[in-house]
Amino acid sequence: MSSTLEKIKFYSAHIIFVLICINDSIFINTWIAPGPIINIKYILVFYFSFFDKGRFSITFLFLIGLIFDSLQGMPFGMTSICFILLSILAAYLKQRRTQINFQNEFIAFAISLFVTQIVSIIILNYFLPIPFEYLLLAINIIVSLVFYPVIRTLLKVFYHY
């Protein structure tokens, strides 16, 4: 019984992540913030890669990235690369730190998010022949950073890392 519950708890993160990725607009745009969107997908990938490296496998991130790109009309493969990169960066930055506290974790998130967004800009600029709104991206990064402690605290309540 307890193993079933553990399994449900383990896969609940996957289910939440998939639902957020395919329902970006419903979950984020209308419920939490009507203005600039918080990048909850990236926060989830970072959080679970930072605290529990094995939870989101690379195959899972790759497939969800493809689904997200297909739905959003982004270049195919871009989000997969971003998810995998974010996951690797989170795991690497955790390995480098000897002491894990909130400050270190937040800095690691900021670095990972920044690098991932730069990679996404490079890919978008090269593969999508349309103008790009840098201001919105900057707002998106800032809002994601501001909301990170809140979402992380909520996740910590449920997953106890």
Binding site: G35, L71, F76, P131, F132
Partner: protein, 286 residues
């Protein structure tokens, strides 16, 4: 022999090593596959396009299946709220009055249409392309910081092509931006990459309507001394030769700046983005 192999693979040390090796191979494999997908964006091979359309169709309909129960639950809440809305009788009476008024306007419009057709015949002006509308269900809608997409249940199987306008009750919503076999993607007018040639008939002014993402839409390339007022109506001008002319888009909302040159005009769109279930795609009649 096979038992021996089984025993070997179940040894914890060996299985961990196997996992590490497979992980080491998986990472570069997925990155290479992702880049191959990315580079295929630039290729014009028919086979690759067909494969991508197939993948898109598969993903679209799987997401639709996953989302159906969630949508049902959210619709249930809305229905319950409507059921307990006691002002519904008053609202019904108000709507009946509105319908009567609309019927009167429709009769008047029919008169003007006939008059216009007669005058065109006298002047020898040919009618522009006729359009047929194809009904489509919205199976998914997606918003992010850059794009606003609707995924429709019809694709190239119904003759859908890039650039065709999508409308709801003759109100312009956007245009087709991607066509798969059994589904297609439409870019909504608020999408950052959306540009639509429009006309404001009451002022005789042409402009370009640019999507502003979550902030709505904005008018660009207006004539220097153009002065627009709140509630001026905007229609598609059809000057791009693809989108039908005369589709209603919305009303002007001007900011409070007194300097005409610095004044910015946004648009109160004629549809509500979160209440879309079905749309029509306008196709040129052959």
């Amino acid at each position: 022999m096979s038992q021996n192999r089984l025993a070997r693979s179940s040894t914890p040390g060996v299985s961990a090593l196997q996992k590490t090796i497979s992980k080491k191979f998986l990472l570069p494999f997925y990155i290479i596959v992702s880049f191959l997908f990315l580079f295929s964006e630039k290729s014009d091979f028919k086979a690759i396009r067909f494969l991508k359309a197939l993948i898109n169709d598969g993903i679209t309909y799987s997401v639709y299946a996953v989302n159906t129960p969630i949508k049902l639950i959210s619709d249930l809440g809305r229905s319950a709220r409507q059921y307990f809305n006691f002002n519904i009788v008053l609202e019904n009476k108000k709507l009946k009055d509105q319908i009567e008024q609309l019927y009167a306007e429709k009769r008047e419009l029919q008169f003007f249409k006939n008059e216009n057709d007669n005058l065109k015949r006298v002047l020898g002006i040919k009618n522009k392309d006729d359009y047929v509308s194809i009904y489509a269900k919205i199976i998914h809608e997606d918003t992010n910081e850059f794009a606003k997409n609707l995924i429709l249940s019809i694709g190239s199987n119904e003759g859908i092509q890039l650039g065709q306008a999508i409308v709801l009750n003759n109100v312009y919503l956007g245009k087709i931006s991607e066509v798969n076999l059994f589904s297609s993607k439409a870019m909504v007018v608020t999408d950052l990459n959306s540009r639509v040639p429009v006309v404001i008939p009451s002022r005789g002014v042409n402009a370009i309507l640019k999507g502003n993402g979550l902030a709505g839409s904005q008018l660009l390339f207006l004539p220097q001394n153009a002065v627009l007022e709140n509630n001026d109506q905007i229609y598609t001008s059809g000057s791009d030769g693809v989108i039908k002319e005369g589709l209603y888009i919305g009303k002007i909302v001007a900011d409070n700046k007194k300097d005409i040159k610095k004044k910015k005009y946004s648009v109160d769109l004629g549809f509500k983005e979160h209440q879309l279930n079905y749309v029509s795609v306008l196709k040129v009649k052959k």
